[in-house]
């Protein structure tokens, strides 16, 4: 049998029959017969799914289990047996590879994972992800993705409704919020001067964009990628809560004008990455209107507040924006990636800006309404149907449950802030406006030191060591960073609805026990 030559000689001769399930292994010489032996293939996929459910779903969300199983890169490389060889391996070995990948991966759905702006496990979204992977299609034409095309449209419409665009608009799901922010810059540039699409920037005046110093780094990356240059991103000062100061924006616009440059784009952030601060969108919108600038709101993180009646005031004025980036994969817990880019425009700006009219994909003589072929709105060609992951969970939970989750995340942050005030050694940087809680842990040995450079220098080394220790024990994960001249501090974000007060109490105890000897 030719299988053997292809699969190589593994020790698991007893499992060799299972390797029949791989189509390539069974390719053999006969091209006349269909090579598929579905029962064996199904057996493998069932076994793999069992491993996934047990290890990557059940164990990963079990609070008794570790969040991570730290290994040094050198050791992990060995453990994973990464090398790709000529011969294939048996299915039992492949399943062992799956188990290893799970074991040494960070359990982002674990109730003690607070490291990023995504967390937790949303089973309905996960099911949608699985379907997406099994159906395996690309979202560019109605022809190959009829269901997902319609679902994307439905989700975008609903999100626009929450933004407050009563007249609707347009939009698209992107591979991440950075891409959405870049789309905004490109559209603003195109609206400002459509010729740029053909003739480029060479003859255009120097174009300048504005974002706060707290804005996401993707605005700078956009400037670099789109050929505008990072120096043409003017950083607008923020107040001590991290919110853009509107008068400072006005000054920067005047400054750019006085230099002979042409302002065209303002990015306001709804939910900054570190502090969770909301720029005053309404006031910024006034300025943009006055100066005829494109207003983009990066609500990747903060957009979730729009589903909450209690908290949507944080984004007051967002309906005045020209475009919005909003990532349901963050607080709303859709599986990665699920990033919506929404624009108010109803004149096909997105399509006109990005289209290349590929004749092999977007034939105009199709037998259905080709306005459903949305792919030319994208700068990508193949694009994943990410909206479905949000649609199915939304159907399952309803808007009201999404609202409860957001309310809870913000309540958790307030609870945490209250607790810090009562505990010795924990100090808040500021009251949380959203769900980001930034704080220092001060070990007992440093508590008597006077406020000054020596304390700050010593404090700066505390968070990295505690982080190292928590990862090596595997008990939890929390991110830390510096900010301006502030020494390293932790940022806690509680998104996961599986997390209760007890988990937060555990976190504080654990930080103390990991850091109390530091000096």
């Amino acid at each position: 049998m030719t299988d053997k030559q292809v699969t190589g000689q593994g020790p698991e001769a007893g499992f060799r029959h299972l390797s029949k399930c791989c189509p390539a292994v069974r390719d053999g010489p006969a091209l006349k017969e269909p090579p598929v032996e579905m029962s064996a293939a199904e057996r493998f996929i069932h076994e793999a799914m069992e491993v996934i459910i047990d290890e990557a779903v059940k164990k990963a969300t079990d609070v008794q289990e570790k969040v991570c199983e730290w290994q040094s890169p050198e050791k992990l490389r060995e453990l994973l047996d990464l090398e790709l060889k000529d011969g294939g391996e048996s299915d039992s070995k492949i399943l062992q590879h799956c188990k290893n990948a799970i074991r040494y991966s960070v359990k982002t759905s674990h109730p003690r994972f607070f490291n990023q702006l995504f967390a937790g496990l949303e089973p309905y979204s996960m099911v949608a992800s699985f379907i997406t992977e099994a159906v395996k299609t690309s979202l560019y034409t109605y022809e190959v993705a009829p269901v997902f095309t319609l679902m994307e449209d439905a989700v975008l419409k609903k999100m626009m409704e929450l933004i407050g665009w009563d007249e609707g608009g347009d939009g698209i799901f992107n591979p991440g919020g950075s891409m959405s922010n870049m789309y905004a810059v490109n559209l603003a540039r195109y609206r400002f001067c459509p010729d740029i699409k053909e003739v480029g920037l060479y003859n255009a005046p120097r174009l300048v964009m504005f974002t706060s110093q707290e804005g996401h780094y993707s605005i700078s990356k956009a400037a670099a990628l789109l050929g505008l240059g990072t120096k043409n991103v003017y950083a607008v000062p923020s107040d001590d809560r991290g919110k853009m100061i509107p008068s400072a924006l006005e000054e920067k616009i005047e400054l750019a004008r006085s230099e002979g440059a042409v302002p065209f784009f303002v990015n306001a952030t709804a939910g900054t990455t570190v502090f969770g601060a909301f720029d005053p969108v309404d006031e910024i919108a006034d300025i943009c209107e006055r100066h005829s600038l494109w207003l983009h709101v990066d609500a990747c993180w903060g957009g979730a507040a729009l589903v909450s009646n209690q908290h949507k005031h944080l984004l007051k004025g967002i309906h005045r924006a020209d475009s919005v980036a909003w990532n349901p994969h963050k607080m709303l817990m859709a599986c990665l990636q699920c990033s919506a880019f929404l624009i108010k425009d109803k004149t096909s700006l997105l399509q006109r800006c990005h289209s290349a009219k590929a004749s092999y994909l977007f034939q105009q003589d199709k037998f259905y309404d080709v306005s459903y072929d949305t792919g030319d709105k994208s700068v990508q060609c193949s694009r994943k149907p990410d909206a479905f992951k949000f649609w199915l969970m939304w159907k399952a939970l309803g808007s009201s449950e999404l609202e409860r989750r957001v309310d809870r995340a913000l309540a958790m942050a307030r609870y945490l802030a209250q607790t810090f005030k009562k505990r010795e050694g924990f100090h808040l940087l500021m009251e949380p406006e959203y769900s980001n809680v930034c704080f220092w842990y001060v070990p007992p040995a440093l508590r008597g030191l006077p406020d000054g450079p020596e304390l700050w220098r010593k404090l700066h080394t505390v968070a990295p060591v505690i982080k190292e220790r928590m990862m090596k024990t595997g008990s939890m994960m929390i991110g830390y960073q510096t900010h301006g001249d502030k020494p390293n501090f932790f940022r806690m974000v509680v998104i996961n609805p599986q997390v209760s007060k007890q988990d937060l109490d555990f976190v504080l105890d654990e930080i103390h026990s990991l850091g109390k000897d530091l000096r």
Partner: protein
């Protein structure tokens, strides 16, 4: 920020909502039950029926009626598990079965179960590929997979990254070429630069045009080089076009060659193009998104002879290798950290420099994305399972299938090839219905012929029997393009394909 004391923070008030926080809000038991039930449907409806030649490829519905069937509206309250399972069934039913043996519509198709397991696992682990901290396994795995792909290109060292699609990879190439020649572009923008020119062929992918406008060059800066009758770039014309551009004040930047063009499957002569690039000191990029997989095959890798002389290569294992969407590698010969220098923004909250491990493993700043999906596991797992030899067999087999298909077409009346000697696994052809045969001389022949493919396409989709793409090209009227590469198909499926075209088109 102002130099305030790190400890200055005033009090707030405890809210009544806090008392609800003692219990988890989510019960995973129910979710897991749903997961199990949904998985059964996925296996039955998508995997079993979706690959069964006796079942339909698609279940056509007009957009308006499908929208009604799917009950798309999102409401305040949630739905029962039973209803949700019905929705899963609906999605499966009305989605195109891209793994079906009669799906020839795109450059992806078929299913590989090891890769599929890798995809399910990726989704379950739900992480982001930016730091070793949150994706230790996948940072190392991506590095390994990229290394193995580079070895096939012929590079012992280099760099690379997985991108969300080949278009993005092609844009990375343009951005890097620009940054390498004019590093100041990153901070000052294109205003600091002379007018740049990009060279490509008319058969190249449209992402070259999209990239040119997205990156601020403008589509006018893309200069199209002539191709021979097999759709391959003519190196002499490239040389001439470069000279011409120089004389017009352009600074030539990059040549985007194609290995496996989208429609005809042509391979540009890389070795000769590399000579021209050397002569003029241009960045040579090879868009091998479609054709790259021939590098696995000893028999067919000659099609990309000279690829090792490129500066960068795009290669999508999600196409011919069946790794699953998306799996797009961008490979670089550079060893000077160009990718990171070009794209980095040094975010302090993600790429802290005082971490306890080697922060060179935090590869996220090489990307223009922030969150980035793990696209390496599905390829790695499949590659582990079948080995390089298994992948080579798949590629070789696809070429054999194409030979069979061509032979069968020659035996039948009415099948006319666009390019008589297909280089790759794309077969482009017109179907000439009996009523048009022998009437090539008629004035309205081309118009009538161009209307044939759209009608056959409509019929096949409405009956759900198969799917194949068509397009015009230059002044050639609509023709079909069939791509044959799925390891699931056999001679019977190709016979069916030809029979079906005849059946649907004979009365036109």
């Amino acid at each position: 920020m102002a130099k305030t004391s790190p400890f200055s923070s005033d009090g707030g008030t405890l809210e009544p909502a806090l008392r609800d926080l003692t219990q988890p809000l989510i019960d995973h038991a129910e979710g897991q039950l749903f997961l199990n039930e949904a998985f059964k449907i996925i296996v039955e409806e998508v995997l079993r029926k979706g690959t069964d030649a006796e079942e339909k490829v698609c279940e056509w519905r007009e957009p308006e009626s499908l929208a009604l069937l799917l009950d798309l509206q999102l409401r305040d309250t949630g739905e029962s598990q039973d209803r949700l399972l019905q929705r899963v069934r609906d999605v499966a039913k009305y989605s195109i079965k891209t793994s079906h043996p009669h799906f020839f519509n795109q450059q992806f198709g078929g299913v590989d179960y090891h890769s599929l397991a890798g995809r399910f696992l990726t989704e379950a682990l739900n992480t982001n590929l930016f730091t070793y901290e949150v994706a230790p396994v996948f940072v190392l795995m991506e590095t390994e997979v990229l290394k193995a792909l580079r070895q096939l290109v012929g590079w012992t060292d280099g760099d690379g990254i997985f991108c969300p699609g080949g278009s993005t990879s092609n844009m990375y190439a343009m951005n890097l070429a620009r940054y390498k020649l004019f590093p100041e572009v990153k901070t000052k923008g294109l205003w600091a630069l002379p007018r740049l020119a990009i060279f490509s062929s008319p058969g190249s992918h449209y992402s070259v045009q999209k990239g040119a406008s997205y990156l601020g060059f403008g589509t006018d800066s893309v200069i199209l080089v002539k191709v021979d009758d097999g759709g391959r770039m003519i190196p002499e014309d490239l040389d001439a076009k470069i000279e011409l551009a120089k004389s017009q004040g352009f600074v030539p930047l990059l040549v985007s060659c194609t290995s496996g063009t989208t429609v005809l499957g042509s391979f540009d002569p890389l070795d000769c193009i590399a000579d021209v690039c050397d002569k003029h000191q241009l960045w040579m990029h090879v868009d091998a998104a479609w054709g790259g997989s021939v590098l696995f095959s000893k028999q067919h890798r000659h099609l990309m002879k000279g690829v090792e002389r490129a500066k960068s290569v795009s290669w999508n294992p999600h196409k011919m290798l069946l790794a699953g969407l998306q799996c797009s590698a961008f490979l670089l010969q550079d060893t000077t950290n160009l990718l990171k220098r070009c794209n980095c923004a040094n975010a302090s909250y993600l790429f802290q420099q005082d971490k306890f491990y080697d922060v060179n493993l935090d590869i996220g700043d090489k990307s223009v994305q922030c969150s980035r999906k793990v696209d390496c596991l599905k390829l790695w797992l499949m590659w582990k399972a079948v080995g390089s030899t298994g992948l080579e067999h798949r590629v070789d087999k696809a070429f054999l299938h194409v030979r069979y298909l061509l032979e069968q077409m020659k035996k039948r009346d009415g099948f006319q090839l666009v390019s008589t000697q297909p280089e790759f696994v794309n077969v482009c052809f017109w179907f000439i219905p009996p009523s048009l045969r022998g009437k090539e001389g008629n004035a309205d022949y081309q118009d009538k012929l161009a209307k044939v493919a759209p009608v056959i396409k409509e019929r096949m989709m409405k009956e759900g029997t198969m799917m194949v793409g068509y397009q015009p090209l230059g002044d050639l009227g609509n023709f079909f393009r069939v791509t044959v590469f799925s390891p699931h198909i056999c001679h019977k499926d190709m016979d069916f394909f030809l029979d079906e075209i005849e059946r649907l088109g004979k009365c036109l």
